[in-house]
């Protein structure tokens, strides 16, 4: 997996490269927009991590030029600008995800992995499975070990997102953005309560819990090892 990091701050770039290397990715770095566009134009990256404010050519312009050239490499925008407006604008400009600086590396990794998976999952599948948990997208039903589990519509959406990212860490912010389309963090821990209710339903009467809390990062739905 090859990742392009376009970031003008050398320390951030080095940290990203090191962290991503350790997580098993090959990383190229570009330090301004023009170089970034040049590298990215080759099209042989699996994902691009793109800083929004760059010398010579800003991130959104680079992205616009790439998308105009039909290069659809998933792009994660990094930005110091964190208002709802900025996020929405970044996503509209062709970004696939938006992360506000500074970020926890775990958050970046979780999002990057979600982006990389997005391309692989087939869009036509109608059933998602994790261990003995099964979610049917057509009948909108959930079963575990063959027993039907009643879930509310919002819990269904939450579970669907967790299952699509099974085995990977999903952060609270990712859930807010993808399940609720909220691009800001409320001060109240709204997500935790949603997750704990879902956990009640899918894990409580079973031996092996599937939905885990990852300290300092978020949640992970995974099959028992």
């Amino acid at each position: 997996m090859k990742i392009l990091v376009v970031e003008d701050d050398r320390e951030t770039a080095a940290y990203l490269a090191k962290g991503l290397n350790e997580s098993g990715y090959t990383v190229d770095c570009a330090s301004d927009g023009r170089d970034g566009l040049f590298f990215a134009s080759s099209g042989d990256y699996n994902a691009i991590i793109l800083d929004r404010m760059l010398p010579s050519m800003d991130g959104l312009t680079v992205l616009g030029a790439l998308r105009a050239a039909q290069i659809r490499t998933p792009a994660l925008i990094l930005s110091a600008l964190g208002s709802v407006d900025d996020r929405v604008k970044g996503l509209r400009a062709g970004g696939d995800d938006y992360l506000v600086k500074p970020f926890a590396f775990s958050e970046l990794l979780a999002r990057l992995e979600a982006l990389l998976r997005r391309g692989t999952g087939s869009a036509t599948e109608t059933k998602l499975r994790v261990a003995d948990l099964e979610l049917d997208l057509l009948t909108r039903t959930v079963k575990r070990r063959g027993q039907p589990i009643e879930v509310l519509p919002r819990e269904f959406r939450l579970l669907e997102y967790l299952m699509r990212n099974a085995g990977h860490v999903v952060t609270r912010t990712m859930l807010l953005e993808h399940v609720w389309d909220y691009h800001f963090d409320p001060q109240t821990n709204v997500i935790d309560v949603h997750v704990s209710r879902l956990r009640q339903k899918i894990d409580k009467s079973f031996d092996h819990p599937l939905l885990h809390t990852v300290r300092g990062a978020g949640y992970c739905l995974r099959a028992p090892s």
């Binding site: 404010m53 110091a80 208002s83 691009h183 001060q187």
Partner: protein, 478 residues
């Protein structure tokens, strides 16, 4: 404020025709009042001039008549003094026959009123026989039909009961006076008409220029900072006013741009080092040689850095919202939908914390806005209610009132004392009892910035007990 009133008044529903609305606005404007005042002064002076002209010309004719009569009388008196009554009769007879035009009228009568000499056959009917100036109607026959013509003259009593009448037919003078009157009347009417038309034109021109200034200010206030008042190149006062306003707007725009740049720079230059700080802390956290105590300390430091960043981000968001220029994301949206989706997100946590969340919505309450921002405002209000109310029902309501779209969040907590209801919107203001709870004092500032960006208003009221926060926006027609 005046601009706002002007802008709002027609919307508040004069049911009359646009023409009527226009006429009413015309009457209310300063320009038309000024024009009316000028017209009044103009009309009075025109009337004064015309009256003066009329009076002097009419008077001139009267004076001429009197001078002629005086000269005649002086001549006759001289004759009488030299030659007595018979001389007088002679000269009167001579003058009557003289054919000096028919303007002069002479008559000498004996004590019985019989005419002795003169060019009229008898004493005119209505003339009272007494000495002095008199005016009367004179019966004259001309071209076969008789007519009464005005005359003006003097009657003298001559010793022995004789009388002398010297008069002048003043029908020409009367005709002249009539002519003057008619001429002046027409001249006056024309002058007043021209004055009225000129005043209206002038006021409309003035009104148009003022309107241009008003429109431009409205557009600028609506966020279109680069709009300017058009100049018409005459360098008159209005042009100067427009030029000054434009210079002011240039300066405001420059300041706004500079502020945005500073904001962006601060965001970039301050957040990058903060970013590094957090990155280093994170790296230290993953260092295998760190012992659990060190890890705990590092985690606490990261949390602190995150809190600092949250505050910082909120400040930047407020600054950006208040700088106001961008609003490309606005679209028609249903407030009820915004309320329901927020309620859906918050319902489990409100229940967990021992609250009841109630949503009351009217259908079709639509405004033009940015959903993400409005959701954020609503989420902030719900966060506040959860933080301060302690329990009970939290109500979210969406309804229409007086043509406005209203989004309300009400709780049954301690509320906010009336004296503090304005200051809580200021940045970093936290009321005494809440100082100990976590929070940065920016929630309501952000709510207000979002509401203002939508040209709406936010008010706090007593929910008896509790707090009722009302957001009001211009509703789209249903």
């Amino acid at each position: 404020m005046a601009v706002e009133k002007l802008h709002l008044a027609p919307a508040r529903g004069w049911s009359g025709s646009p023409l009527l609305v226009h006429a009413r606005r015309l009457v209310r404007t300063h320009a038309i009042r000024l024009a009316a005042l000028y017209f009044l002064v103009f009309a009075i002076s025109v009337l004064g001039v015309l009256l003066f002209v009329y009076w002097t010309s009419a008077n001139f004719v009267v004076q001429q008549t009197e001078a002629t009569l005086d000269a005649e009388i002086a001549g006759l008196a001289e004759q009488y003094a030299q030659r007595g009554l018979s001389g007088l009769i002679q000269i009167v007879a001579a003058r009557s026959a003289g054919g000096r035009g028919d303007a002069m009228v002479y008559l000498v009568t004996d004590p019985n009123g019989r005419p002795l000499a003169g060019n009229i056959s008898g004493w005119p009917a209505e003339v009272v026989v007494r000495s002095g100036w008199l005016s009367f109607g004179l019966e004259r026959t001309r071209n076969g039909h008789s007519e009464i013509r005005p005359a003006w003259g003097r009657l003298f009593a001559i010793p022995g009961g004789y009388r002398l009448l010297v008069a002048r037919d003043i029908s020409d003078a009367a005709a002249f006076r009539g002519q003057v009157r008619a001429t002046l009347l027409w001249a006056g009417l024309v002058a007043l008409g021209v004055g009225l038309a000129g005043g209206t034109l002038m006021s409309r021109n003035m009104l148009r220029r003022v309107e241009q200034v008003n429109r431009t200010s409205e557009r600028v206030m609506a966020g279109n900072l680069s709009d300017r008042v058009p100049l018409n190149g005459t360098s008159d006062e209005f042009d100067q006013l427009a030029a000054n306003l434009n210079r002011m707007l240039d300066q405001i725009e420059r300041l706004m741009t500079a502020m945005r740049e500073v904001t962006d720079d601060v965001a970039h230059d301050l957040k990058t080092p903060l970013s590094r700080l957090r990155t280093r802390l994170e790296r230290a956290l993953h260092d295998p040689s760190a012992d659990p105590y060190q890890r705990e300390t590092i985690r606490a430091a990261i949390d602190e850095a995150d809190r600092l960043l949250t505050t910082f981000n909120a400040l930047l968001s407020i600054a950006e919202l208040e700088s106001g220029a961008r609003r490309e994301g606005a679209e028609p949206l249903d407030l009820a939908e915004v309320a329901r989706s927020a309620a859906e997100l918050y319902e489990p946590v409100t229940e967990e914390k021992g609250f009841v969340l109630a949503v009351k919505t009217e259908p079709g309450v639509e405004i033009r806005g940015e959903r993400h921002l409005l959701s954020q405002a609503l989420a902030n209000l719900l966060d506040n209610a959860l933080k301060y109310a302690g329990g009970g029902t939290i109500e979210i309501a969406v309804f229409r009132r007086d043509g406005q779209a209203v989004l309300e969040v009400a709780d049954h907590g301690p509320g906010i004392p009336e004296a503090d209801r304005q200051t809580v919107f200021d940045r970093f203001v936290r009321l005494e009892p809440s100082r100990t709870t976590p929070g940065n004092g920016l929630g309501l500032s952000l709510v207000r910035a979002i509401v203002r960006r939508h040209d709406g208003s936010v008010t706090l009221a007593d929910n008896r007990p509790g707090l009722r926060v009302r957001l009001q926006f211009a509703a789209l027609a249903s």
